[in-house]
Symmetry: C2
Subunit: 283 residues, 2 copies
């Protein structure tokens, strides 16, 4: 059988993976959920037909969304994670003994159930006793939180469908309020390369800089996302991701990572000129 999963990376670009087996298909209240066994990427989770995680390259996304803020402020104890139903961000966070409490807010419980069954590689630490799962809308959850978290990670889908609210001005304002005075916000920030992604990225940046005194963007290589060139946002009330990085302290923790290291932490904030201009355009 010659079966391929095809994703449109732009209206005129397609990315296709050979499928060995379509392991799961289902429809939740919010979205269509599928899991494929692929020849190149191992198991792949898609939501509404878009690749969320693959076993082969998920380490890149999850390393960079967690270790960059954790190495910037080793004092982080209480974390809010929004989205992240596959569990990969939680897996990385639970490597830190210093973290005491993690609230994970995922709108779609069925995503977590499916990942527990089909993606143990990412979902394995969801039962850590420090992790508190909340199956509700992240947008609503943060409204009632004040001065509470050291770190918020917005591990969202794209700015359309169920993830749309997590790219709004109201949401970022509530994140600011939910963070304490040392708080850091890291978010999935889309890509600079294809036009539609770049517009989403610029919109998110414009909204975040309205609230946080420190607003930086860093880049990583995610081969299964459109263009492979992806961005995360780093915003904070106090910490600078370069100046406040204590590389020695992080290295002394002895954590095993396949992508992240303290050199690439610094290097990832050096952006191409065209991306710097896209960001400046909205400031």
């Amino acid at each position: 059988m010659n079966l391929w999963f095809v994703e449109n990376h732009s209206p005129n670009v397609q990315f296709s993976m050979r499928v060995i087996e379509h392991l799961y298909t289902g429809k939740s209240e919010f979205q269509k959920i599928d899991v494929f066994q692929t020849a190149e990427f191992g198991r792949v989770l898609t939501l509404d037909g878009y690749v969320m995680v693959t076993e082969k390259d998920e380490f890149i996304y999850h390393d960079m969304i967690t270790h960059v803020p954790m190495a910037t402020n080793p004092g982080i104890k209480k974390v809010l994670v929004i989205g992240a139903g596959d569990g990969g961000t939680i897996r990385e966070l639970t490597k830190y003994d210093s973290i005491e409490h993690i609230d994970m807010v995922e709108i779609d419980e069925m995503v977590v159930d499916v990942c527990r069954e089909f993606l143990p590689q990412t979902a394995s630490k969801l039962d850590d006793p420090r992790v508190h799962l909340h199956f509700e809308d992240g947008l609503k959850f943060v409204r009632s939180r004040n001065d509470e978290y050291d770190l918020i990670i917005v591990d969202s889908t794209d700015p359309f469908g169920p993830g749309e609210g997590l790219f709004t001005r109201e949401f970022y304002g509530n994140c600011y309020k939910a963070l304490n005075d040392e708080g850091i916000l890291v978010n999935q920030h889309e890509s600079p390369f294809y036009e539609e992604d770049a517009l989403g990225m610029q919109r998110a940046h414009k909204r975040i800089i309205g609230f946080f005194p420190v607003c930086e963007v860093y880049q990583l290589h995610i081969p299964t996302y459109p263009s492979g060139h992806w961005l995360f946002g780093f915003a904070s009330k106090k910490y600078d991701p370069i100046k406040d990085l204590d590389a020695d302290a992080w290295n002394q923790l002895g954590l095993q990572t396949k992508y992240y290291n303290t050199d690439i932490h610094v290097g990832s904030f050096a952006l191409p000129n065209y991306v710097k201009e896209q960001l400046k355009d909205v400031e």
Copy 2:
């Protein structure tokens, strides 16, 4: 008409671009040459069915292959470019008034003819009076050169087909000999992500470290190349690409670049752990 150009990025991964018009097809003594007008990437040159350059993202490749060595040693005057038939590397080099002489050795004259006609965006500076075109095998050309060049740029195709000789031990040894005591070698170094590319990358690295005291690898985002995560090699007899970078001097030149800047110069040498391990495995 629903026409797509499809490239296998691995045996189980395909990347496809919508084609508006197939502008040119021909067969030289060495390879099949095609030019497509695409909806997303503008004009695209392919050799034997592999994407070489696209108008939309060629700036990334050409910025990073030229400005990294040029900013490391602003005293570079004589340059040898091997491959590079599309002319993009030459276009970037000719921005430097300090360069006095460029030998460009391209095995396939037909590639240059086709690019002059269909890709003026990259081929526009091939007639610069400092550029001397040699249509012959780069492998043979360097054999007879001694202590002559400040910089050699190997802007080759992949390590199979006509470009195969440009990944051999003999070739790198001759490059060493053709460079003067301050010489720098920069080469297209393949990708770490898909298995076959990674093996080519490790093989090239193993051969280069046999000759040069300084051997580094740096990375860039090329959306139309397999995985989007690409590497270039930086080898030299003397210069260190980070310690010897004079950022102020380069910035004072006032060159316009869309990807390169002196921060990303430094940042691009910070590699993910898994790539560092691939490189260490061969040392």
